[in-house]
């Protein structure tokens, strides 16, 4: 066992650093640092996706015959770590990390040929149609219905918490095509063009002041049956497969570390009257840093297990649970570090295009919005309570 990089890995690290230095503009970097939500706005995120695609790195997790770069786990680790360290924009993960793997795993040849290149190039922007107003943690109780009419489905219902639905031109959705004996039966996985007549989108403002999520309504929306992925009624299986990618495929610790670093730098600066000189703050920074160390090591252990063909199992739920809890701990610490500056509210968005002087130093602008929006970390992608259910069932057998 060895945590250090060998010569080839160091050379790859240089390659990644060189790529980032050539492509990451100051504007992208500032916009990313001043985005208090999980996702970059598409103008920033998709510009980065195009740069990655031009390099052949548009989809690090995909198999090589669909355009993946064929990296070793160590290379994947280096790429994610260097990206986080440099502060690159977030790309459209709903495309690259969620629907992409499902289409690769279960899509028809036509679907693969049509959709995958458009995800890689950034031509398509995807959103996720899972939750409904009446179906949160109990997702499989969903009621949005697709009724067969010739070669089409006619869809009626509504989806909620749809991140970036107002930017997306495509949605992947779980819809009910029949009523089975169990509520998980009769669900199908469907790809929807967001410009189809009958779709309306209502913005939902979150407590941090951001418009990130939406409610989407479907009124007699006609979608070709050819847009269904896999078999009719098997959508729950595909949907769960996707959730494992959503929860556990990422390397989150590098970003957490950068987030903590930004807070620690504030704590060490005169802007906060050197908050770090309070032993309480200094110790809490260490506690969070150690939690990140543990998560990082678990991620490395999972990478090693995947490399040897082992199945990490319910560990994706451990990663999701701890990642979300630590992210909240970082943001909570941030609010405590900036002191009285936490009282000022900046309602304008985006924060990187303000046309006035904010009430606080720019370094602090995202701190309170991130804390407030960040309450969602332990809710989306399966609440912490659902993750504990999964750990108990899959790891402990109870």
């Amino acid at each position: 066992m060895d945590l250090s990089f060998n010569a080839e890995e160091r050379a790859f690290q240089d390659e990644v650093r060189g790529f980032i230095a050539r492509n990451l503009t100051d504007e992208m970097k500032r916009a990313t640092a001043l985005t208090p939500s999980v996702f970059s706005d598409p103008d920033i995120g998709m510009a980065w996706q195009r740069a990655l695609h031009a390099q052949g790195w548009g989809a690090p997790g995909w198999p090589v015959d669909h355009g993946g770069p064929d990296w070793t786990p160590a290379q994947r680790w280096i790429f994610e770590t260097e990206s986080a360290r440099a502060g690159v924009p977030n790309v459209n993960v709903m495309g690259v990390k969620m629907v992409g793997p499902v289409i690769i795993g279960f899509g028809s040849p036509e679907q693969k040929n049509f959709y995958l290149p458009r995800i890689l190039s950034g031509e398509d922007y995807w959103c996720q149609g899972y939750s409904e107003p009446g179906s949160g943690s109990d997702l499989s109780s969903l009621k949005t219905r697709a009724v067969r009419d010739g070669d089409d489905y006619i869809i009626n219902g509504t989806k909620i918490w749809t991140t970036h639905a107002h930017h997306a031109n495509r949605m992947f959705a779980l819809v009910r095509t029949s009523d089975g004996p169990r509520q998980q039966d009769g669900i199908s996985f469907i790809l929807i063009d967001m410009r189809t007549p009958g779709i309306t989108t209502r913005p939902i403002l979150t407590i941090g002041g951001d418009h990130e999520v939406n409610q989407v309504f479907f009124d007699d929306v006609r979608v070709p049956v050819a847009n269904r992925v896999g078999e009719e009624g098997k959508g729950w299986t595909y949907g769960k497969y996707l959730l494992e990618f959503e929860r556990g495929s990422g390397i989150a610790s590098a970003k957490l570390r950068e987030g903590l670093k930004a807070i620690a730098e504030l704590a060490e600066s005169d802007l906060t009257g050197r908050a770090i000189d309070s032993p309480d703050i200094a110790t809490r920074i260490s506690e969070v840093e150690v939690d990140i160390d543990a998560l990082e090591m678990t991620e490395l252990r999972v990478l090693a297990a995947l490399q040897t063909g082992q199945n990490p199992g319910a560990v994706s739920s451990i990663l999701k649970l701890r990642n979300s809890e630590i992210r909240q701990a970082v943001t909570r610490l941030g609010v405590d570090v900036i002191g009285h500056d936490a009282l000022a509210v900046e309602p304008m968005r985006p924060l990187y295009k303000l046309n006035h002087e904010p009430a606080m130093p720019e370094e602090m602008l995202t701190v309170v919005p991130e804390y407030l929006n960040g309450r969602a970390y332990t809710i989306f992608g399966g609440t912490s309570e659902i993750q504990r259910d999964i750990i108990a069932k899959m790891m402990l057998g109870i």
Partner: protein, 382 residues
């Protein structure tokens, strides 16, 4: 970067787990708890035959040149069995300090005897007034015409009662007075002026307090050439904390497994305890913390030879985090066993007490988060 076990490491894990499962059962533990020595010389001999006593010692001194990862593998298995042999004191702390500080003659004289099981060591460093501050030593070693005169009081000497030689830390006073350097001295357990009072240790095994009153030692009792030994002591304690962390992981895993089984069998209100979501979530949290502890112990082991700040932060981070997890897993194991968990009729309490001892040894979570913070922020990549 490589995080997979080698074939040799896998074999070591298998043989250590097999040994503990076959030879270290509840009867054996009960017997050891009532034994004045607190461990079995026969088992120690087996450790020697299995090559475990030689594991971290360099090949030129009769060892196998193993790394902290292998020590961790062994320690985790020892934790599962609540092994009480003086392995940490002799092999992890003692041999490491001899190898790092000793002269070639001292290494040649001592290390092969550790490897073959004929010599046991202990480290006498902690003092009551120092609390967990490794730099604080009031014991003195004064240069005399014949050698050295040691005076002072040491506490919490792990397995000191069983040691043939005790490594004692003391401030060196030479002919010019206090030198500001800490020296390490090899003190035979039977030397005049050395009073050992041993006691039963929380969670198994034994420890002792040592009074040194004008203990006269020969010139060559000093390890090496008298350079300040504090960096070596910190280095050895950091390595030891990594090993103890792995041991704690083994203990926690047993508590988790045992408690899980109990909640499946124990019925109240007409159904197993595990049918309740509040119990399932508690067990899930315990499982998460055991997993995090495993990551931290491995991380500390992989960084024992990093630069001193990185090594110390990894060791303190692991000690603090695993200590916190150990208390949680231990306390919840008792809670979920109900009244039976508080009795000596189950082994849950013995495992819990060993975890409390682990958390306390070399300083608890608060101390180590503080040390981690004092040593500063680091963005050193993995």
């Amino acid at each position: 970067m490589d995080l997979n076990l080698t074939d040799e490491q896998r074999l070591l894990r298998e043989s250590a787990e097999r040994f503990v499962a076959e030879s270290y059962d509840a009867d054996h533990r009960r017997k050891m708890a009532n034994d004045p020595l607190g461990f079995s010389p026969a088992v120690w001999k087996q450790f020697a035959e299995l090559g475990w006593l030689a594991l971290p010692i360099a090949e030129e001194f009769g060892g196998l040149g193993g790394s902290a990862v292998e020590i961790g593998i062994l320690a985790e298995a020892f934790g599962r069995g609540l092994v009480s042999e003086p392995y940490i004191a002799t092999v992890v702390l003692g041999a490491a300090l001899i190898e790092r500080c000793g002269s070639t003659a001292q290494k040649q004289a001592i290390l092969p005897k550790i490897a073959d099981g004929s010599l046991k060591l202990a480290l006498a460093h902690s003092e009551r007034a120092a609390r967990f501050d490794l730099a604080k030593v009031a014991t003195t070693a004064t240069k005399t015409a014949q050698g050295w005169r040691l005076a002072g009081s040491k506490i919490a000497v792990l397995d000191g009662h069983a040691a043939d030689e005790i490594i004692v830390s003391a401030h060196i006073h030479d002919h010019r007075g206090p030198s500001g350097r800490i020296g390490l001295f090899l003190v035979p357990a039977t030397a005049p002026g050395v009073a050992i009072s041993d006691y039963e240790r929380l969670g198994g095994g034994r420890a002792c307090n040592i009074e040194l009153s004008d203990a006269h030692l020969p010139e060559d009792a000093l390890l090496g050439n008298g350079h300040d030994a504090l960096p070596a002591i910190e280095w050895a304690v950091d390595r030891t904390m990594a090993a103890l962390g792995a041991e704690a992981v083994g203990i926690m895993q047993v508590l988790l497994d045992t408690t899980l089984e109990y909640t499946k069998i124990r019925k109240q209100f007409g159904r197993p305890l595990s049918a309740n979501q509040v119990i399932r979530h508690r067990l899930a949290d315990m499982a998460v913390q055991v997993d995090e502890a495993r990551s931290m112990a491995l991380r500390a082991a992989l960084k024992v030879d990093a630069d001193p700040v990185e090594r110390a932060r990894a060791a303190s981070g692991a000690k603090a985090k695993i200590g916190k997890s150990a208390r949680f897993v231990g306390e919840q194991s008792i809670q979920l066993h109900g009244g039976m968990g508080v009795t000596e009729e189950l082994e849950v309490g013995a495992y819990f007490k060993r975890l409390v001892a682990f958390d306390t040894l070399f300083g608890g979570s608060a101390h180590h988060y503080g040390r981690h913070a004092r040593l500063g922020r680091t963005t050193v990549p993995a």
